[in-house]
């Protein structure tokens, strides 16, 4: 059993908005083990990005606040860590890449500056030449051709895929223990997406880092992840290793998601099934199970009580639904 690096416990995050307080995350608990890739999947707006931003303490201020819970990184609670200690962790021990490579780099500075800056920040003793060389080596490792020349260029001179590689290079410069990748391939076209996924897997093999991989695309999850969290309405509704999840999806929402993917092995006559209904806004969630208005198995109890995340079968599989045991046979 490998070491647990990150333990998120009962995390709750709220946004102070004009319409009132919106609870974007509710009772989020999960672990990240050394060397593994944990996927977080769910429809747009379910709280994937807010989860990653909460871990990194990058929530937009002053609106976004962690109101409950703990983010335990190797014994330190990041939620209450002094700002200076947090600066030492960000980009150094936990790094992050984002969805939009087109806007994630500063348009007015050369690539070199944006790489070197990170190294200089976390390695105060390092010489300028060593920093420059390390940055060039890193660009080479993420598969950027002619890295010396690229160092002198500005972000607008690079394609989306190249920029995302630069982002990955920046994130990996300091050998982080955890890389959080928030939809890193969503904005890229399919071939580039496949290249970036392969690159991340290769780099993980080299470095042994853990990856938290966020996406709304179960196909991508299947390709890169060891374990998966499924989120809905700011809550984790199912958590399992990748085989269990695809084999025995147990929450009605997860089953709906999996049915929504077109599959080769299924006869083509079957029309693409999608989950009916809409995700309510954060202000309109009814009490009880947040999926109730779209669930075909809903009962009175679901409208009154909130189901807990319960163990199901083996100890890595957890489901948040009152009826998942009955549903196994449906």
């Amino acid at each position: 059993m490998s070491e647990v690096l990150l333990k998120v416990k009962h995390l709750a995050t709220e946004f102070d908005t004009e319409q009132g307080i919106a609870r974007a995350l509710d009772d989020i608990s999960f672990e990240v083990k050394a060397g593994e890739t944990l996927g977080i999947v769910g429809e747009s707006g379910c709280g994937k990005s807010v989860t990653s931003l909460s871990i990194m303490r990058l929530l937009p201020k002053p609106a976004g606040n962690i109101v409950n819970g703990e983010v335990n990184f190797k014994g330190q609670d990041l939620v209450n860590l002094p700002a200076d200690d947090m600066h030492n962790i960000r980009g150094n021990r936990i790094a992050m890449i984002f969805q939009e490579p087109m806007t994630a780099l500063n348009p007015v500075y050369r690539i070199s500056r944006q790489l070197n800056e990170t190294l200089a920040l976390h390695n105060p003793g390092m010489s300028k030449d060593d920093i420059q060389q390390a940055s060039i080596d890193m660009l080479k490792r993420v598969g950027i051709p002619a890295p010396e020349r690229r160092m002198k260029e500005y972000p607008h001179q690079l394609s989306g895929g190249m920029r995302q590689r630069v982002m990955i290079a920046i994130a990996l410069l300091c050998n982080p223990e955890i890389l959080i990748a928030d939809e890193p391939t969503t904005a890229l076209d399919v071939t580039i997406q496949a290249q970036i996924l392969k690159l991340l897997k290769d780099l993980q093999k080299e470095t042994g880092m853990s990856i938290i991989f966020i996406t709304h695309d179960l196909g991508v999850i299947a390709e890169v992840c060891d374990r998966v969290l499924v989120m809905y309405g700011g809550r984790i509704i199912e958590q399992a290793d990748i085989f269990t999840l695809f084999d025995k999806p147990s929450h009605p929402y997860t089953r709906g998601l999996l049915n929504a993917i077109p599959r080769l092995e299924k006869p083509a006559k079957e029309t693409l099934s999608t989950i009916p209904g809409m995700v309510p806004s954060l202000f309109d969630f009814p009490p009880g199970c947040r999926f109730q208005n779209r669930c075909e198995y809903v009962q009175t109890r679901c409208e009154q009580e909130t189901p807990d995340l319960e163990m199901h079968g083996n100890d890595t599989h957890q489901v948040r639904c009152f009826r998942f045991k009955e549903l196994v046979n449906l």
């Binding site: 790094a95 500063n106 607008h156 982002m167």
Partner: protein, 344 residues
């Protein structure tokens, strides 16, 4: 980069020709010119049909000019030649700084402008420096402390500065600090004893002593827009993805602002720079009038009142050229802060 500037400099030629054509068209309205002749003819025709008698033969505008001066204008602007020929002749004269002769002073127009330009430029450049010096840090602080007490209180001050026209500020300053308290002189670019002062230092001090109130009036009129521009621009950039990237790298928030957001938020300010410089160097005739400063603005205003056409048009040409260079300067500034610009 160099290529961009070469392209930019080459653009001066067509722009200059465009500007001069515009001014040239305006010269056709000068007394003795074709437009006025047409008006006079039309008037005569209507008066004849109305059966009324009219003594003046030269129309309205020329009332204050004598026959010699009209002749001079006709000659300088070439009213008797075909349009293209007279445009070319005039253009050649303009390029050689021959802007004609003032009908009021009988001095060459360029000499008069040359005398006034440095005075307006002195105020203009100082106003701009002070404005940037106030607006950029103030806008920065307002953005960083958005919605704080400091932000609200300073907004009130900025808004008052925006709402009161600068000449009103000028009059208030003059009444309070010059007339009542007598802390500052009533006006002028320098005092009567200026020529007799022994040291350069004393002279410089005298100029600034005279400049204090008008500068305040100028700055009051310009810092509001600049401050809000800086604040909004920085606010936009604080929410930008690349700032979040910077913080995710481990850079503290304050440093992410100064190192990353600041330069990006200066881009709109730099774009504005060229407009400012030409407007400001032109001077505000109202402030120049209030403080009795012999600048370009006042010169233009008085010339209009006195119908000194060569000066009015000369000031117009010079302002247009200043605008042209202001724009180029502005482009250079933008290119200096924004590397994307050369590829547009």
């Amino acid at each position: 980069m160099t290529q961009y500037f070469i392209r930019r400099l080459l653009l001066i030629v067509p722009t200059f020709i465009g500007i001069t054509i515009l001014v040239f068209v305006i010269t056709r309205f000068v007394p003795g010119g074709p437009i006025e002749r047409m008006i006079a003819e039309a008037q005569q025709a209507s008066m004849q049909s109305g059966g009324m008698t009219q003594s003046s033969g030269n129309g309205i505008g020329a009332a204050t000019l004598d026959q010699d001066q009209i002749k001079q204008l006709e000659e300088y602007y070439g009213f008797d030649k075909p349009v293209l020929v007279s445009y070319w002749d005039w253009l050649v004269k303009v390029v050689h700084f021959d802007l004609g002769v003032s009908t009021r002073y009988s001095d060459p127009v360029w000499d008069t402008i040359k005398e006034r330009l440095p005075i307006s430029a002195f105020y203009g450049i100082l106003t701009m420096l002070i404005t940037y010096f106030i607006s950029i840090p103030l806008g920065y602080m307002k953005a960083v402390r958005h919605n704080s007490h400091f932000d609200h209180v300073s907004s009130i001050v900025v808004f008052i500065g925006y709402a009161i026209p600068s000449y009103v500020v000028g009059i208030i300053l003059l009444v309070v600090f010059a007339s009542n308290l007598e802390w500052f002189p009533m006006g002028g670019f320098y005092g009567d004893e200026f020529e007799d002062m022994d040291s350069k230092l004393e002279q410089v001090a005298d100029v600034f002593y005279h400049a204090a109130l008008p500068l305040l009036a100028y700055v009051a009129g310009s810092f509001a827009v600049m401050t809000f521009m800086m604040k909004n621009s920085l606010m936009d950039n604080l929410a930008a993805d690349y700032v979040r990237t910077a913080i995710a790298k481990g850079i503290p928030f304050k440093k992410a602002i100064t190192r990353h957001a600041m330069r990006n938020s200066l881009i709109p300010i730099a774009t504005h720079f060229g407009n400012n410089i030409s407007v400001i160097i032109g001077g505000s005739f109202l402030i120049e009038k209030i403080f009795n400063i012999d600048g370009l603005g006042l010169l233009g205003y008085e010339s209009i009142v006195e119908r000194d056409y060569p000066i009015v048009l000369g000031v117009l040409v010079i302002s247009a050229i200043l605008q042209l260079f202001g724009n180029i300067l502005s482009d250079i500034c933008v290119a200096a802060v924004d590397p994307r610009v050369q590829f547009r």
